[in-house]
Each structure stands twice: as structure tokens, then as C-alpha cells.
């Protein structure tokens, strides 16, 4: 194998498709990354500021050139402002995604969103109860209407604190109150961040960063949490189910449709259309054996979690999957969809469809989906995909798919444990399982694709640490065969025993990237059961290959919630060692957790084991010297 491609991705399908892409003269994300090198050091360090037009400004990291922007902001302020705006963008993305789901819930309640329904009435009632909605005697639509309204209020400015914060342990909420970072409204915190970072508002880097944590919490315990809960209500709470992963899930004799993006609102309707008998018949009439729906990225994770729909790949595979020539249509919603996809698809017969009024892309046809028309639109585009099957050229599907199990919602994990988290707590106490780690986040061309995720996961499970993962990390470990019950063989003896007893893999797929909140909910449940705070638990978080602003928000809400979080790539903060020190050391005294940056996944695993054993010792549990 070409060394160049082996350095770019550890996946076999990725390497083979990179060769194909080169033959087909397709420019990929790695090529563009190389073209960008060297990347601007001011920007990498967070030292450039484009906030106003007295600037743009940059600070000389060597201390001889300018040390202040035109407005007078120094390195600390500029770095903190830039980071604050990254968090705001990330929180806005997840939360706006959540809002779209609340809108569907609202329209379902009003009977306008034909095609959608409430699949998990029990969960609807449970969540409604948390919002103080009395369900007795009301039909689900009515409850849904009231819940949607209450959630919309969480987005606004009328609350003093977000409703779902009450899921957090009391000790944690007290810390937030003390630091004055309890999020009040989802949109409010993002809006306030934009205000604070305007020239001449908040010029104290500490308070800017603290507001960054509040903004992130408004995502983790607000926008993202609502997104997950409403998705479960509308489309069903995930249940463990077997599926297949990697590019090999494409089928040469089927109409292949790929959904890409994040929000299940569109992809669920596409799934329905793909299962309808008349369209299947049409596919057969067009010479195909059937319709094969597969996902990439998080909209794929949403379908995988709830419906066992196969997963073709994660972030860095999204261009490569098109080079198979086997994709008849790719349907996208929003987030992490590279604007290059249209031009890749243009080299093949693949039809590219954008669906959201807020997300348009060059080289794609726009078919706008709304809750009222989504079912009908989905049928239309699937029909187009079927008709496109005949236009296929040469097809290259270089690998066989790998089996995986997905669908571990908090509810099903508790079910698997026999209805209570107690067995997990007992295993933790006994030390059979040393702790748990949530691995989340993206792919990044700076890092060999999946290498960070897979290496870190392997090192952790070898040491009896249960791994839960989401997003592109979850796809990476699925591709690597770690999401099978048999993968317990790769785990340490304790974890192997537990997995064997419960029949679960050592790495649990908890969903898409908004579903990181499931990890928060699980951690809270454990903390509450132990009568302690999240920051006292033998747990940690990691984002070994993160790239996006959403990941910054996720990392910040993990840390603000008390989860020690290890990042692979360096965030743009090294321009201010004050900011670096606060985030990697100082926050420990404030929120009981810090960030740690470690590009080497093996060293990251070591740091996490050390952290977990330290927490075990503090809880008076048997601990190891690492």
C-alpha cells in the first residue's frame, strides 16, 4: 500500500478509495490540507482578531512586534474572545438542531407534520414530567404541544435556569450557581457571548472564559439534550441492534442512497420512503435488487442507533464514499458537510440533494424539506435516486463491511444491567471495571483517520475501562471491529467478564454528537446513585481527533460538568499561557475538572488511567498505581 495513503487513514476502505480518488483526479480533504500548509501561526494560537474593522489585528508571540490590538486588547483578551466565539458557534449549532426537532414536535402536536408521529410515548411523558407538565388524561399530541412550548421557553429569556439542569447532581448545580455560570436560556447565552466579545464589552479574560462554560452548558444541558430527547420521542429511543459499517455497506446491485448531516428529521423520512413497497417495486423495475440506505456522519448515527441502518463512514470518508461510483444519491441536511462534495459528485453520476433552508452547497440540487412536506419530499427524492441508478458508471466497492452493534441509549444500558445501574456501580466499586471513558468527536486531517480513536479505545479497554462513544469516534471504533461482543477478547479480564455476562461489547455506541448528552445523563445517574458529584467519579472524556466548533462546546460542557477531558488536536489558545493555564489547571479548583491536551493517544490513555485511579482512591475504592 502506498505509504502516503496509509499515513492519511488507518482504514482499509479509506486507503483503497484514496487510490481510486487519485486515479480519478479527485481532490480530497487531505490534498486541501496539504495545500494549506503551513497554517497561520497567529490563527493557530488564537492571536489574530477579526472582530472589528479598526483591525484586523494580530499579536506577535515573540514579544517584539505589536502586543495589543488596535482597541487595546492583549493576547489574553483576544484568545479568550476567539475561544468564546467558537463555543458560541458550537452551542448554536447543536441548539439550533434541537430547535428544529422541537418545531417538528410542535407541528406533530398540531397535526401538521404528517409523516411524523410520537414513537416513544413513555419517554414523552417522562420528559414532560420533568418539565412539570401534568400528563394525566391528556393524549400524546396535547402533551407534545405543551412540552414543545415549554422547551421553546428554554430557548428564550424567560427562565432563570434551564429545566433539564435538574438532572445534574445537586452538588454540581451548586458549583454552577456559585460561579454564576448556571445557563439561563439556550439562545440567551450564545447571544450574550456574541455581545460580550464585541469590542468594548467583556475585557476580562477570566469572566469571558467562565461565560464560555455557561454558554457550553446551555448546549449540553439545553440545546443538545433537548435534541436527543425529542429525537427519541419522535423516532424512538434506541435499542441495541446489529448493523454493518464501512464503505462495504454499499451494494453494487442496489440503489444506494446515502444520508449525511446530523438531524434525523430528514433522514427518518427518507428511510420511510426507502421502505415503501411502491418505491421498492420501482427500484426493481429499474433493474436494481432493492434500495440500500446507508448513512455517513451523525445523521447516519441517528439512523444506526434507532433503525440499525448501515454506516458507510465518518467525517473523512464522506468524499471518498462518492468515489465508489456506487452512490446514486447523497441527501444532506446540515453540519460537517464539506462544500467540496458537490464537485466530487460531479465526477460520477451521483445526485446531490440539499434539504435544509439553512444549508446550501455548491453542486447540489436544493429540495427543501419542512415538517409538513417532508414525507412527500422524501418520496420524490428517493424516486429520483432510483431513476439515477441506470446512469451509473463503473462501480468500485473495495471492501466487505464489518459487523457492529449500536443503539445504547441510557435507557437500554440500564435495561441491559437489569433495570438499575447498580451492577455497573458494583463492578466499579469492586474494581472489575476501573472506570468509564466517553470518546467523542470528529476526524481531522491532521491526524491519521481513526488512529486516535481506535488506539485510545484499545488502550482503555485493555485496562478494564469501559468505553462509550458517539459521533465519528463511534464510527471509527465500529469500523475497527470494536463494537462486537467478541471484541471483549481485546479487553482486560474484568471488563471481559462483565461484557461476557451482559452480552455487550466493551465499547458502547451511544449515538450522534448531540447524543453526548446521554453520557452526561449516565454520569449524573452514577453520581446520584453514589451520592456524589460527577467530578468525583472515575470517568473521563476524550476528543482525540476533534476539529469543529461543536467539539469545543462539547469539551467545555464536559469540563464544566466535572468531566476531565483530553483533547488530541490543540485548540487555538496557546497565544495566551494564562488561558492555557486556566483551562488545563485552574479550572480544577472551580469546576473540579480540566482540559488536557495530548496528541499521542497512548499517552492520553495513560493520563486518563492515572486520573481514573486517582478518583478511585479518593472515593476509597481499590486503586492501582499507574
Amino acid at each position: 500500500m502506498n505509504d502516503l495513503f496509509a499515513n492519511r487513514t488507518m482504514t482499509r476502505d479509506g486507503q483503497l478509495l484514496l487510490e481510486k480518488a487519485q486515479r480519478d483526479r479527485i481532490e480530497t480533504v487531505w490534498d486541501r490540507f496539504e495545500n494549506q500548509l503551513p497554517q497561520c501561526g497567529y490563527c493557530e494560537m488564537g492571536l489574530s482578531c477579526r472582530i472589528c474593522v479598526m483591525g484586523p489585528c494580530r499579536i506577535d508571540p515573540f514579544g517584539e512586534g505589536p502586543q495589543k490590538g488596535v482597541c487595546g486588547a492583549d493576547a489574553d483578551i483576544i484568545v479568550a474572545r476567539n475561544l468564546g466565539r467558537m463555543i458560541a458557534a458550537g452551542a448554536a449549532s447543536h441548539s439550533d438542531h434541537g430547535r428544529d426537532l422541537v418545531d417538528v414536535l410542535q407541528e406533530v402536536a398540531e397535526g401538521k407534520a404528517t409523516g411524523y408521529q410520537i414513537r416513544d410515548v413513555e419517554k414523552l411523558k417522562r420528559v414532560a414530567a420533568e418539565y412539570g407538565i401534568v400528563a394525566d388524561g391528556k393524549d400524546p399530541a396535547e402533551i407534545a404541544g405543551e412540552l414543545a412550548y415549554a422547551m421553546q421557553e428554554d430557548y428564550g429569556t424567560r427562565r432563570k435556569s434551564l429545566t433539564l439542569l435538574q438532572r445534574a447532581p445537586a452538588k454540581r448545580r451548586a458549583i454552577w450557581d456559585k460561579l454564576n455560570i448556571t445557563p439561563r436560556g439556550i439562545d440567551r447565552e450564545t447571544s450574550e457571548m456574541m455581545h460580550r466579545t464585541h469590542m468594548g464589552v467583556d475585557n476580562n479574560w477570566q469572566t469571558l472564559l467562565l461565560h464560555g462554560l455557561r454558554n457550553a452548558l446551555s448546549d449540553g444541558w439545553g440545546g443538545s439534550m433537548i435534541a436527543t430527547e425529542v429525537s427519541d420521542i419522535l423516532f424512538g429511543t434506541p435499542q441495541p441492534a446489529a448493523t454493518m459499517v464501512n464503505v462495504g455497506v454499499l451494494k453494487a446491485d442496489h440503489v444506494n442512497i446515502i444520508v449525511h448531516g446530523h438531524n434525523p428529521v430528514v433522514s427518518e423520512m427518507v428511510l420511510h420512503a426507502c421502505q415503501s413497497e411502491d418505491l421498492l417495486q420501482l427500484a426493481r423495475e429499474n433493474g436494481a435488487a432493492g434500495i440500500n440506505l446507508a448513512g455517513v456522519c451523525c445523521t447516519g448515527n441517528e439512523l444506526l442507533m434507532r433503525n440499525g441502518i448501515p454506516m458507510a463512514g465518518n467525517h473523512l470518508t464522506t468524499e471518498l464514499v462518492l468515489t465508489t461510483g456506487a452512490v446514486d444519491m447523497m441527501i444532506v441536511d446540515y453540519q460537517c458537510i464539506m462544500p467540496s462534495l458537490g464537485s466530487v459528485a460531479a465526477c460520477y453520476h451521483t445526485k446531490m440533494i440539499s434539504t435544509s433552508d439553512k444549508a446550501r452547497f455548491p453542486g447540489m440540487q436544493h429540495r427543501e424539506f419542512h415538517p409538513e412536506n417532508a414525507a412527500e419530499k422524501a418520496r420524490e427524492v428517493v424516486k429520483e435516486a432510483i431513476e439515477n441508478f441506470a446512469d451509473r458508471g463503473e462501480v468500485y466497492i473495495p471492501v466487505e463491511p464489518v459487523k457492529a452493534i449500536g443503539g445504547f441509549s441510557v435507557e437500554t444500558i440500564v435495561d441491559a444491567l437489569g433495570g438499575t445501574p447498580q451492577p455497573l456501580i458494583d463492578a466499579l466499586k469492586a474494581g472489575t471495571i476501573r472506570g468509564a471513558v466517553g470518546i467523542v468527536g470528529c476526524n481531522n486531517p491532521r491526524i491519521r483517520q481513526d488512529f486516535g480513536h481506535v488506539t485510545l479505545t484499545q488502550k482503555l479497554i485493555e485496562n478494564d475501562i469501559l468505553v462509550v462513544d458517539t459521533g465519528c469516534a463511534a464510527v471509527a471504533t465500529s469500523k475497527a471491529g470494536l463494537k462486537l461482543a467478541e471484541a471483549a477478547q481485546m479487553a482486560g479480564p474484568g471488563l471481559r467478564e462483565i461484557c461476557g455476562a451482559l452480552g455487550i461489547p466493551p465499547v458502547l455506541h451511544m449515538g450522534s454528537c448531540v447524543d453526548n448528552v446521554r453520557i452526561l445523563v449516565l454520569a449524573s445517574a452514577l453520581a446520584n446513585a453514589l451520592g456524589t458529584d460527577i467530578c468525583d467519579l472515575p470517568i473521563a472524556g476524550a476528543a482525540p481527533e476533534w476539529y469543529s466548533e461543536k467539539a469545543v462546546a462539547i469539551g467545555a460542557y464536559f469540563v464544566a460538568s466535572g468531566v476531565y477531558t483530553v483533547l488530541g488536536p490543540m485548540p487555538p489558545i496557546t497565544g495566551s499561557m494564562n488561558v492555557v493555564k486556566l483551562l488545563t489547571e485552574g479550572l480544577k479548583d472551580e469546576v473540579g475538572a480540566t482540559f488536557h491536551v495530548e496528541p499521542d493517544p497512548e499517552k492520553a490513555a495513560l493520563a486518563m488511567r492515572r486520573h481514573i485511579e486517582g478518583k478511585r482512591a479518593k472515593l476509597g475504592l481499590p486503586s492501582l498505581k499507574v
Binding site: D3, L4, N7, Q22, R23, R25, I26, E27, D31, E34, N35, L37
Partner: protein
């Protein structure tokens, strides 16, 4: 000190300049067979092509000999060298004595064997005079035949195609420039030329010509005939050393010289196309008849002639060619034998139109072929010349973005 330099090509000129720079009082005589002032031989193909006029060929002004206080003896060839008496004989001149002698006579086109070579419009392409004659034939030419796919044949074909004359090229080997480039680059070059109208015939040669005073037809070794009214012979060059007493001065293909460019006879030096010395990439004696070597060797020979014992590390074959849409740069070993000690790595990146092949011997770079992205080629050549061990990832060097920073720690 009396210096005599035979040859007014760039090696001789460079040596003369170096001698004058280091010794203001030295006496210098320069013997040249061309009467034209010192000119740039590699540029004659551009005159043929039409991109450069004759006026641009001189590399030094008409006052060069005066300025350098050189006694020029031009228009005649050296007929004999008397080593014992330290004299050279020049046609039509008395014997010239020397203290130090530099042989920089260059090379002559290698003749071919074929019938009726006397016919008009059958040319070599080596000197400005040859091109002047060719250009006289161009207006009435309807099809040209180029013999040989080497650098000269290739440049002749390129120039004639530019003039709108259809060209047929006969190549004995499998692809053009087989000595200069690897098969992949050779194929790319051939494709480019064929796309512009060149007719290439491989593994065939000419056995004779026919015509009525002017050439009209060629007979080929495969039994076929070819109409042509102009022929260019480009079958390489051979060092011009007919006057050298081979029983006294050691000669192989060229005149053997040591690291000081001195021949086996003390006080007699050789440089440029006529000299044979250690080749850095091949690690064996080699004649590298190229312009930059002639410049460098001439300068070093000059220094040694005035008594500076400067050592020349060795020569290195290298070439750069631009053909319509392709830039090709090569150096050192381009076709490493499969069973040899070499390690070869290559990358073909059609997206960036970048093809690179590198040849390593242990930890040293000894050969390269670059198609496009040639700006960094000089750096790779410098690496080969310095012989410094390559201690960075070899893959890095294959990338079009490879640059100088990656060599310094």
C-alpha cells in the same frame, strides 16, 4: 606563466575568466575552431524554434578577448599536441608553446553510417552554423526526419514542429530521451509531442537516403521508405580529441582527469564535454557533456592552472526540458537497474500534475526524475552533489510541497 586554452566554448571561456581573476599577469592564448564570439550552444535549438534570434547567442561581448587580455586564435583546429616540447600545432599557424594547457575542445556530433549521406539538407545540429544552414532549408521543407530520440533529436523535432513542419522521429530505444528520463516521463513526453503532431517510430533506424542532390527519401531498417526533404542527425556526441596523443595522455571515452581536472600528464588539464571524470551519482568515470558541468569544470581547471589546488567533487548528469505543457528535470541515475543496489520510490499525482521518481543508494540521493513542480529540483541536485545522507522521510521529498526548510534541523 603561459596558459594555452584549446576551445572557446563555455569551459574554455570560464577557465580563462578564472585565470584572469586570479592572476592579472598571466599570458593566455585561446584557440577556437569557430570564429563566432563565445556563444551559448544549448540555445541554438531556440534559434531553430524561432524563440530567440542569433543576436542573443553570444554569452560574452565582442570585446571579451581584449578585456581578458587573451590572444585569440580562431577559425582553426588544433592538429597536434607535442607533450614533450609543450607545444600545440594549429592548422595554418606556427607551433604554440605553453606552461599550462587546458583541453576544452568539446565534442563533435557522432556520425552515422548510411548511404548517400552527402545529399543536401542532411544536417547535424551542434553549432550555430548548423542551425543557420537548417534555417535556409526550412522554408521549402514539407516533412522532416529526425534521427535519434536523444536531447538533440528531441530539440530539433521540437523546433521544427514549432516552425510548422511535420516531423518523423526514429528512435532505436523504446521511447524518447531514454538516456535522460525514465520510461514513465518518456511516455509523458512522447504523448505530449505526438499530440502536437510528432510521428514517432521506435526500434527502427535509417539505412540510406535517396534524392537528386537534395534528400527526398529515406530507407528504413524495417524495409519501409519515408518521404522527407530535411534530415537532422541527432545520435549523440563524441569528445573531440583526435589530436590527443593517446599513448601519452590517458584517454577512455573522454580524456581522463583527476579531481583537479588534470590529465595523466602534469600541467595539462581537460574540462567540459571532452573530459571524463568521476560521476557523483554513478561513482564511476563518466563524460557528462552538459553546459553547467562545462562552466563548473572550466572554473575549477582555471583555478588549478594558476596554482590553486582546488578539488572538484565530481560531475553529475542533469537536464531540464520544457516541452509545450510539460516541464521535465532529471539528474543522476534515472533508470536504476532492478537488480542493482538502488532503492527507487516514485509518486504519480495526476491531480497536481506531479510525477516524481527518486533513486537512492543507501542513504544518499543519486537520481531523480521530476515532471512539473521543478522549482525545487536544484535543491535535490545540490543534495546529490553534496552527497549528504538523507535523514528525513523519503516520502516527504516526493511531495510537490517539499522545500528547503525540511532539510535544516
Amino acid at each position: 606563466m603561459k596558459h594555452v586554452i584549446i576551445g572557446n566554448g563555455i569551459a574554455g571561456i570560464s577557465a580563462a575568466e578564472m585565470i584572469r581573476q586570479m592572476d592579472a599577469d598571466a599570458s593566455m592564448t585561446l584557440i577556437g575552431d569557430e570564429s563566432f564570439p563565445p556563444y551559448c550552444r544549448p540555445m541554438i535549438s531556440m534559434v531553430l524554434e524561432g524563440s530567440v534570434g542569433y543576436d542573443r547567442l553570444p554569452v560574452r561581448g565582442a570585446d571579451f578577448y581584449d578585456r581578458m587580455r587573451i590572444q585569440p586564435i580562431l577559425g582553426n583546429r588544433v592538429t597536434a599536441l607535442d607533450v614533450d616540447n609543450r607545444t600545440v600545432s594549429v592548422q595554418g599557424e606556427h607551433n604554440i608553446s605553453y606552461d599550462k594547457l587546458l583541453i576544452a575542445t568539446g565534442a563533435d556530433p557522432r556520425p552515422i553510417k548510411a548511404n548517400n549521406l552527402h545529399l543536401k539538407n542532411i544536417f547535424f545540429m551542434r553549432t550555430a552554423e548548423h542551425v543557420r544552414a537548417m534555417l535556409e532549408a526550412v522554408p521549402s521543407a514539407r516533412r522532416a526526419l529526425v534521427l535519434g530520440g536523444g536531447l538533440v533529436g528531441f530539440k530539433a523535432a521540437y523546433g521544427l514542429l514549432h516552425r510548422g513542419i511535420p516531423v518523423t522521429m526514429l528512435i532505436r530505444s523504446g521511447y524518447p530521451l531514454a538516456l535522460q528520463v525514465d520510461p514513465r516521463a518518456g511516455q509523458m513526453i512522447q504523448d505530449e509531442l505526438v499530440a502536437r503532431g510528432l510521428d514517432v517510430r521506435v526500434e527502427v533506424h535509417v539505412i540510406g537516403f535517396d534524392g537528386n542532390s537534395r534528400v527526398r527519401r529515406a530507407f528504413l531498417s524495417d524495409g519501409t521508405e519515408l518521404d522527407c526533404d530535411m534530415v537532422v542527425i541527432g545520435k549523440g556526441v563524441t569528445p573531440a580529441l583526435s589530436f590527443v596523443p593517446k599513448n601519452i595522455i590517458q584517454v577512455d571515452l573522454g580524456i581522463l582527469v583527476n579531481r583537479h581536472l588534470e590529465t595523466s600528464v602534469p600541467g595539462i588539464y581537460a574540462a567540459g564535454d571532452v573530459a571524463e571524470l568521476i560521476d557523483l551519482a554513478r561513482n564511476t568515470r563518466w563524460v557528462n557533456a552538459i553546459w553547467p558541468e562545462a562552466v563548473a569544470q572550466g572554473r575549477v581547471a582555471g583555478m588549478n592552472m594558476v596554482g590553486r589546488k582546488v578539488a572538484y567533487k565530481g560531475s553529475l548528469s542533469r537536464n531540464v526540458i520544457r516541452i509545450f505543457g510539460l516541464d521535465v528535470m532529471t539528474a543522476g541515475i534515472v533508470n536504476a537497474p532492478h537488480d542493482g543496489p538502488y532503492e527507487v520510490i516514485a509518486r504519480d499525482d495526476p491531480l497536481r500534475k506531479n510525477y516524481r521518481k527518486l533513486v537512492f543508494l543507501e542513504d544518499r540521493l543519486v537520481g531523480m526524475t521530476l515532471v512539473n513542480h521543478i522549482q525545487q529540483g536544484g535543491m535535490l541536485i545540490a543534495m546529490m552533489q553534496s552527497g549528504r545522507p538523507v535523514n528525513i522521510s523519503r516520502e516527504k521529498i516526493l511531495s510537490a510541497s517539499f522545500n528547503y526548510r525540511q532539510l535544516i534541523r
